[in-house]
Structures are given as structure tokens and as C-alpha cells.
Symmetry: C2
Subunit: 402 residues, 2 copies
């Protein structure tokens, strides 16, 4: 297992924090120490070349265990229903030989090359593969410690109550090292919203873990599930620990109901994760943020049996957030990036995240004229720094994927 | 003015037409002559390196005259309404000095680099700039003849009936060389749907030109305008000559009404142009194509005062068509590309378009494992060929923009 030092000392000259005035940044012991001034004697120094400095991108929702990156192209001929995709995937895992350790390593290093310094990955737990996905991503998490932080959500992709034995596997996944309790469509998939959420929140309470639930249910059905989630969050004092992923129901047409849901989310400090889908109703990012709700973003699946598009680029995801929410003004484009950085960081409760002195030196250098220009242009990342060490340069991770 | 020969002879070895079996293609006199076989004696020969061969991408809706490419970054602080954007743009043209000839040349060559061999550009005609936009894009059209085909739509961006003198300018634009009669939101902008469409179709009839109308009007209002357009198309025998751009109303919730509109469009052979917007209701591409309606796609504005995102990449636009329409299967991804190639070509009535022997040799070579993989990966275009001559290589146009 490759060992990488987790702290670094570094001086980067000529950078523009968030597109502002040029300065330099000094990193000591893996933390941002100071802005401005010449390179201290003896410190490794690189030239930022006037690039824009932002904190590490936060990939707050993906599926590292089942990407097909680096494997033969998968010809997608899957049916249109959610259940078609779930069942096809379970079959293909075996047929194609999708090895979770290898595949998660490939995607993790791609994310590093693209500037993500933190990843929350949902990892399948089911009665067919058992804990193989969890074990594989745990291996990747340890292997690349110091390169990228990976948080694992135990995710019952095939349903939990409808497949006997899954709850026990979920519990084992948490004991093994998964940090977050996942869930999935309490009504549409598991057919028992109360039962499903009682198990999810029961595990969360017993093990003292956060919760992140996939909620594809639309309109009134999704809103009902969301209210059940909010009720449990408050009852258990889990404010700030619960995320609803996708939350398509927040794009429903009944605007009074949406306003009520947003108020409830803000009050219970339940977070929203969006992939900014073009084809589905989607959470209104600006309204949520204005109401004080934390909103993060993620790539979701990256080139897997569900679909071919994902590419792990969180700068492109910021563009998708912008396009989906009709963000055109520069301040709106900056908000889209904020969702893909600080939003995800707050959702994941990352400590010491940001550009301020004292923060962990998780940094990305973007070439661009202004912050908005750099976002929409999505050029190769000039440098990616993880706790003060350069981990990618000119769009390439310094470590090679298996 | 630079002169470029408009026909070429060329042999490209080792290419895979539409991702199929490897072969070679021979071009004679600017036309596809044959597939297979070794390079004929004396012919310029290039190695396709196993790349995927597709016909030239068709940028079927953009605004060459007002892109800000190559100019200082424009900080967008514009208000949210359509009219805010229209009025701001008219002011900025003067303030920023957006020169139509220079700017259209820059975008045209960017399009060439990205594999577009044909462009339909709407060009503003209004009482402030008069015909300056038309003259500028006409200059670019002539300058790059043989590199890229540009079709000009006289476009009353600021309204036609609400601004006295615009109709006369529209007519002058057609006399000057604009090929298509444009229109814009007959109710929402021009406040007189009958009056607006009578003028648009009147000009089309008098000058024997096709029509392409921007229709942002949503739901029932847009559907009403669309029916007025269809009625005039049939009354004037203009089947196959009329395009409705954007057509957000086809994404309305009333599915019976949508079905009726699709039937009417198919019967009158009225085409639909989509940009596959993520934030608006949008035409359902597959339903339209299945009903026999021609659907093309375009970038719309490329980095202009309306918004920062457009980048003229029609391969990315195919991805957006896919994402917007939830196309996940390989055959669906191929359909998205078909919209960005053959769809636009049929919409613009391009003669001799395609890969068959006898077609014009407008070709793009994409690196990729399969057609779908090449589309979603959006790598630099290996070669772009216009009537048999290489005009771009490895993502760079061979001519430099001003």
C-alpha cells in the first residue's frame, strides 16, 4: 500500500484568490498559513502564473464502486424504468467484472486530476454483492489517504426492506468503516416509507452517523417522504446531519408546497444535494440558499451502466448547476461554484475547509480571466493541492490509476 | 480577402464511419468518391488512425454577430427579464464595440475547429445598428467560403412592429444577402401575433425565402403562436421551409395539446430547432423525430451579453440534447448526434449532405472507442474536412481568427 505524507509546506506565487488581486499563498504543515509576501527560505515554491485560486472542489455525491472508467465501453440497451437500471446493474456487476477497489481508484484519481479534494461516495450494499463494494472503496480510501478524502455512504441500491438480509449488511458496512447511513426512495422502491426511514434513522442513532437518502420520488410523493425525513431529523436532534440527495420533488409545480418544504428544511437544517439534472424537476438552488439551506452538488454516476455522461468534473457540474438554474450573471455563476465547493463542504461537515489562514491547504488553481470565465471554460486544472502537497498538475494526477 | 479553393481531393486511411468497421475514404473534387481501398496514386493522404468518421456538425442556431469571444470578459449584471437582456445588449453593442465582422469571424473559426461545417446564424436587424450586423456577417461568410458555409437569418431581435422602420430594414437585409426571414415572439415581444406573422410570411413569400422564428413563448401562448405559424405555412405552400426555434411550448404539461401540435408540425413539415435548455420546458426530441418532424440543434448565443456558457461545440450540444431528453442508451446518444448533424442539415435543406458516395466531403474525425463514447467524451476533433480540404486539425482551425 502506497504511503503518502498527509501534510505539506509550499509557497505558491502569483495567484488570484477567487479571481481577486494577485498575491501569494504560503502553506505550513498542510494548512494555509498566510497570503502575500515572498517565498520563505527553503520552502518548495511554485509559480501560480496568475491563476485563480479556489478551495478544493467537493464531489458530494457519486458512486465510486461501479464506474466503468478504463473498462471496455458498455453498450447501454437498458429499459426506461428505475427498476430496469437497478436490476441490470446487479447483473452486469457479475458479467462485466466491475471490481470496486480498482474502479473506485480510477475514478478517485480522475477526480483528483479534476480538482476534487473531497468525495462522498454512496457504495452499494445488497444481498448479492454483500460488502464487496464497501471493502473495495475502503481499500481505495486508505490507499489514497492524503491525496483525496473519501467518505463512504452505505447505500441500499436494490432496496432494503424488500430484500431480506440487507439491513444486517447495512449495519456490518457501518461497523466496517462506512461513515454515513444511506437510504433510497422509501415508498417507490422499498414500498414502506415508515419502515424504511425507521431503519435508516435507527442505524444513524445507534451508530451516531449522518444520513444521506436518495430521493427520486417526484411531486407529492417525494414531498411526503421529505416531510417524514424532516420529522425524524428533528425528533432525533439530528439537525445538520441529514442530506436529501436529488430531491426532485423540490421542483414540483405547487409553489406554495415548495415554499413550505424549503422552510421546513431550513428549520431542521436538512441539506440538499443536487446533480442539476436537465431532464427532471430539480431543487431551486438560489431559493434554497437564500432560505439558509445548505446545497451541495455531485456528479452522480460516472460512466456506468446507468448512463454514459458523468465525467467527475465538478467545474462542469458548476456549469450544469448554472444552466439548470438559469444562472447568467457573474454572481450567479459564482454561486454555482460555491455549491460545488463550500456547499458540499458544509453538507459533509468538513473541518477546516476554505481559503482562510488556518484552513487545510486543499487548493485548486484555475486558468482564467475572471472567476466566471474560468468556470465556464473548464480548462485543465493547473495545480491541485491536497493538504499542502501538489497531487495533480496540468490536468493529470501525479499518481497513476490501476 | 483570403481566397480558399472550394473543392479538394483527399484520401483518409483507417477511419470508422459512424463507429463501424475500419475502412478508408477517398474524396474527389470535394465529394465523397468511395469507401475502401488503398490511396490512389498522387492523392494527398492522411492517416485517420482508427478515428470515427461522421459528417460535418451542423450549428443550426447561433448568433455570430454578437459573440464576445476574444474580447475582455463581460461582467454580466443584467436583469432577469427577456426585455432586460434585449435592451442591455443594444446598449452594450455600442459601449463595448462589438464589431460584427470581427466577432463573427472569431466564432466561425471556433466552430470550424470544433467540427461544424455549416452554420445558420440569426443576425440582429434593428433601428439602432441598422444593417451593420448583416454586413459584418456577410463579410465573414464570403471570407471563409470554402471553410464553412454560413447561412444568415435577418433577425428582428428588438421587435419588428414595435420599432418603426424595422420592417424596411428586414427587407433591405434580404436584398443585401440574408437568406432567411427571422421572427421573434409574435405576442410576447411584438404584441401583435397576426401582424407580426403576416409581415414575416409576407417577406418570405415576396422573396421566396425560408422562415426561422424564435419562439420563447411558453405553454398555451406559445402553442397559439405555433398554430398561427403552421396555418400560414400551409396556406402559402411553404411546407419544409419553416423552422420554429426554441419552441419551449412543446414542453408544456398538457400532453394532449403537445400531441396535437406534433401532429400539426409533422403534417405541415414545420421544423423544430432546440438548444436543449436545462432551465426551460423544451421540445421532446424523440417524440418529434418519431412523428417525422425534423429536429435540429444549435448553441444559441456563444459567450455574449445574454450569458456566459455557450462554446460553439456541437458535440457538447449533442450531450446536452441527450441530458435534456434523458437519452442514456447508445442508440439514443446516437440520435442526439443525428439531431446535431442530419437534423440540422435537413432543417437547412443542405444539398449533398452526408457520408454516402456523391455527398459533399464535409467530414469530422472523432477519437473514441465507439460512437457514443466519442460523443460523451468530446475530445479535440482530430480532423475537420470541408469539401475535401482539411480545415482543422487536433482542435485547431488552420486559419487564424482576427
Amino acid at each position: 500500500m502506497r504511503q503518502v505524507a498527509t501534510t505539506g509546506d509550499l509557497h505558491i506565487g502569483n495567484v488570484r484568490p477567487m479571481g481577486g488581486a494577485a498575491t501569494s499563498v504560503t502553506v505550513r504543515g498542510g494548512l494555509v498559513a498566510a497570503f502575500g509576501g515572498a517565498a520563505p527560505e527553503g520552502l518548495e515554491t511554485v509559480d501560480g502564473g496568475g491563476a485563480i485560486l479556489i478551495p478544493g472542489l467537493v464531489e458530494a455525491h457519486t458512486h465510486l464502486d461501479k464506474t466503468l472508467i478504463g473498462m471496455d465501453w458498455y453498450r447501454n440497451e437498458v429499459g426506461p424504468r428505475l427498476i430496469d437500471k437497478i436490476e441490470n446493474e446487479r447483473a452486469q456487476k457479475r458479467l462485466l467484472g466491475i471490481e470496486p477497489a480498482r474502479q473506485s481508484a480510477r475514478q478517485a484519481l480522475l477526480s483528483v486530476a479534476l480538482g476534487s479534494t473531497h468525495i462522498r461516495s454512496h457504495v452499494d450494499v445488497d444481498t448479492e454483492i454483500g460488502l464487496a463494494g464497501i471493502e473495495g472503496v475502503l481499500e481505495t480510501r486508505e490507499r489514497y489517504r492524503g491525496i483525496v478524502d473519501i467518505e463512504i455512504v452505505a447505500f441500499p441500491q436494490s432496496g432494503m426492506l424488500i430484500r431480506q438480509g440487507t439491513v444486517e449488511l447495512m449495519e456490518q458496512a457501518l461497523k466496517l468503516g462506512a461513515q454515513v447511513v444511506g437510504g433510497l426512495d422509501p415508498s417507490a422502491i422499498d414500498r414502506d416509507p415508515k419502515g424504511h426511514l425507521d431503519v435508516v434513522f435507527g442505524l444513524a442513532e445507534r451508530y451516531g452517523r449522518p444520513v444521506d437518502i436518495h430521493l427520486h420520488e417526484t411531486a407529492e410523493l417525494g414531498a411526503f417522504s421529505m416531510e417524514l425525513i424532516i420529522e425524524r431529523t428533528k425528533a432525533l436532534g439530528m439537525q445538520g446531519k441529514v442530506t436529501v440527495s436529488h430531491a426532485f420533488c423540490l421542483g414540483m409545480t405547487d409553489q406554495d408546497y415548495v415554499a413550505s418544504l424549503i422552510d421546513q428544511l431550513a428549520e431542521a437544517r436538512v441539506h440538499i444535494l443536487t446533480t442539476a439534472p436537465a431532464f427532471k424537476s430539480a431543487p431551486p438552488v438560489k431559493r434554497l440558499v437564500d432560505a439558509g439551506v445548505v446545497v451541495g452538488a455531485g456528479s452522480d454516476g460516472v460512466r456506468d451502466t446507468w448512463g454514459p455522461y458523468g465525467n467527475a468534473d465538478m467545474l462542469e457540474r458548476a456549469v450544469f448547476v448554472g444552466l439548470r438554474n438559469n444562472f447568467r450573471r457573474d454572481d450567479e455563476v459564482a454561486l454555482a461554484l460555491d455549491v460545488c465547493t463550500h456547499g458540499g463542504a458544509r453538507m459533509m461537515e468538513l473541518e477546516g475547509y476554505g481559503l482562510e489562514p488556518g484552513c487545510k491547504a486543499d487548493l485548486v488553481l484555475l486558468e482564467g480571466e475572471t472567476l466566471a470565465e474560468a468556470i465556464v471554460s473548464r480548462r485543465k486544472r493547473k495545480f491541485v493541492v491536497k493538504t499542502g502537497r501538489i497531487v495533480a498538475r496540468d490536468g493529470e494526477a501525479l499518481l497513476k490509476a490501476p
